[in-house]
Amino acid sequence: MRFFGNTNGIGVIHSVLVELSKYLIIILFAVYTLHCFSVFLGKNGERKEKIYHRQNRIMYSIHAVCALVLFLNSLDIKILGIYALQLALLIFVNKAYVYVYKNASKMVLNNMLMLLMTGFVMIGRINQGYVIRQMVFAAAICVAGLFIPFLIERYQHFDRLGMFYAAAGILMLALVFVIGTEKYGARNWIVVGSFALQPSEFVKIIYVFFLAAFLAKRTDFRYVVFVGAVAGLHVLVLVAEKDLGAALIFFITFLGVLYVASGRGAYLFAGLMGGVVAAVFAYHFFSHVRTRVTAWLDPWGTIDGAGYQVARSLFAIGTGGWFGMGLGEGIPAKIPIAESDFIFSVISEELGAFFAVCLILVEVSCFIMFINIALKMKRRFYKLVAVGLAVEYIFQVFLTIGGVTKFIPSTGVTLPLVSYGGSSCLSTVILFCIIQGMYVLNEEGERKDEKAARGRNIPDSREKSGRKRKAGTGDAQKG
């Protein structure tokens, strides 16, 4: 009996490692996910610290295992080089952010790094050229992100520039009509040299600032109608560009911020009703909307046309099964736009549906952390910005995962931080940084208040309650 059969030694080691790594990665990621939620259970600061460190170790382990599997698959030494650079970037961001964003939520940072790492591995597995570009973008924006807290602190008057945000946002969106190019059926790209920018990704952030700046002031009916009209203009421009995903995200974000600002369910209800009417209208008047719905209802009947993408995505997810085919063992070339809009399908195909479900839960954990921060925000403007960005983020995740799994019609948006795409990566890292930065500022403000209060010789009771609240803030507060 030949022990090695008819394959070479490295091949055998590789296939054994692929088989074992499937389960190892899933177990590690499941533990990571569990910690995302178990961290809420206790109030013990030391325990939380331990959990954060464990999460980091898990991330580095998964990264290393993936790199090893991919390397043994092709024996391409470049893979190791790319891995080393990624590792350096992850470690650098991990250390630097803890330093700059003092007291910020470590969980948010962990999740951001985890998602970035998953993206690196999957994009690199699909196309090496892509991942190098992605790393350049990620590195640049992560370095830039270090300055965001200073910016927020330096310019305290962000909330006075409402009109400016609105004008800038609409202008940037409209720019694609002048110098835009069409990609994947939507005219929402601007190509500069070898870079393709997606203005809507950046406007997403300014747009939330615009909403928060206005709605933090007043929420009477006439005012809301005015803000709604401007927000609607954003949405209409996006619809005209056929960027349905972005249009939906902008719309839902408006409703979310409006609801929190006004505290009135009636607005939310009216908005949703309006949305339904608009959707029915869009279905009847735009063929590309109908195409998406047809593909959603019956991808099999339209597999050679409208249903092609969704059907391919479901084939990949289903064939991968619960434990996946193993990293590098699937055929992502058979999924359209695998590196971007459909990266979730590739992840599920190769790393398994268990991993994919955990990924969904990690995204939810991200959102809960954002909300946790929003709840603690004192300044109304900051609170609304945090809510707006959180809603924007999670709704985008919903659209992309729901779309590729046929839960909802697919709208063609990226999975933030994981998908390949400079604009998307840039804007998401900025989003994370703004939320964290505002939180840091908020906490500093609180500490100053306390100091001032103490100086004014405030009775003990107040200090106690302050401390209590501080302890209660739990996770988001460290050190």
């Binding site: 090695f4 059969g5 394959t7 296939s15 088989e19 289903g318």
Partner: protein, 487 residues
Amino acid sequence: MRRKAETLRPPKNRQVKKEGQGNLQIMRLTYVVVVVFLCMAGYFSWFMAAKSEKVINHPGNTLYEALAKKIRKGKILSADHKVLAKTKTDSSGKDTREYPYGKMFCHVVGRNTNSMTGIERSFCYTMLRSHINPVSKLVDTFRGEKSPGDNLVTTLDYGLQRAAYDGLGDYKGAVVALEPSTGKILAMVSKPAYDPNTVLVDWDSLISADAEDSKLVNRATQGLYPPGSTFKIMTAMEYLLEHPEKYDSFQYECKGSESFSGNVINCYNKERHGTLSLEMAFAKSCNGAFAKLGTEIDLSKFKKLNEKFYFNKALSLDFEYSKSRYSLETRSDLGEVTQTAIGQGKTLVTPLENALIAATIANNGVMMSPYCVDHVESDTGDVVKSFEPMEKGRIVKKELAEEIGEMMKSVVKKGTASSLNDLSYGVAGKTGSAEFDSEGTSHAWFVGYAPADEPKLVLSIVVEGAGTGSQYAVPVARKMFEEYLGR
């Protein structure tokens, strides 16, 4: 000091209120988001657990290439574990499929190359999963060998398949055999057949051969034939649905030929059947009587009845099939109505559809979903998944099914299939001779079941261009009944 504290409190409270403003709404939003995401995760898990197996076996999915690198596609076995298809690995590690019985099972089992068909296609991914224990799998991996995929145990009965295959002889045609109480497909033959072992080499000649031959077509599920007199089952059923009291009182005077406003309907060889009850008109397959029934039934109800039996409708089967076509409309002219009532119009059936009609009658009016894989087992014999019989629903009332059953018994006792009357368990059936061209050549049909009172085997047989059902299809049925039930 105390007073000071009190004066400070109100503004502080106001501030807290302002700080907390919106938090209630934020919490509500969060709950909604969490619920939506849990629904999405739940849906995703449900898809994986319940739907994905069916989805990935879609012919458009070509990802099996990736699986086939690690798993050796499993075997296809008959109900008594005879190997119908297996994978052979040559010295260079290349896999090919082997079919020990060659042409005999070629359509139902299908082929693995040149665009997969049959069970090979619809359970491709099932056979490319391996449920042997993880340690053995790891050992296989260490040895650089593929793990054996899961095996399929079909519902196909080897003896019955052989009887059908031999019974058809050199004729073109098709046979479907079902178990009426479960819907299990016991045999499925289509002739002419091709050898799946050499299909790769023979491909050019198979596809270039003249259309008459079409060996690649599974006639049992894809062949559309005029039903001939077997369709009188449907006509009689509709008539009795509308006029239940006429079962005993109906009478018809057959003169061998009758004209319905100029549309002449002849009996076979213009034979005069004389005065007939409904039962005898059915047993003797009197065309005049049934053309008359056709003029007395409600055409829109007749259409509904046929569609309940899955004419013009998708069947959701595990293999390639054509929808049977019922083509009468309420505005159809009398000529077409009378022709259709005796099974000669534009209405076309597949042998499988005809088998389903007979099986529904044999099963007291309840149609069972036809299926051909009984269970999936790992290479070490552990059952991985079993397929249970599934009802397609009650199509007609039990009483009506029994009345039609009685009439089908008369066909054997004193009608066109009387040559089967000597079988001890009793047979019920209906013959047909479906003319398909102006020269009067006809396809021979037999549909029926046995034992007549406790049906275990339903047959639907068509012999192309042979002649009458009594002469050419009934003998095939006889061989199969004898094989499966004895004499």
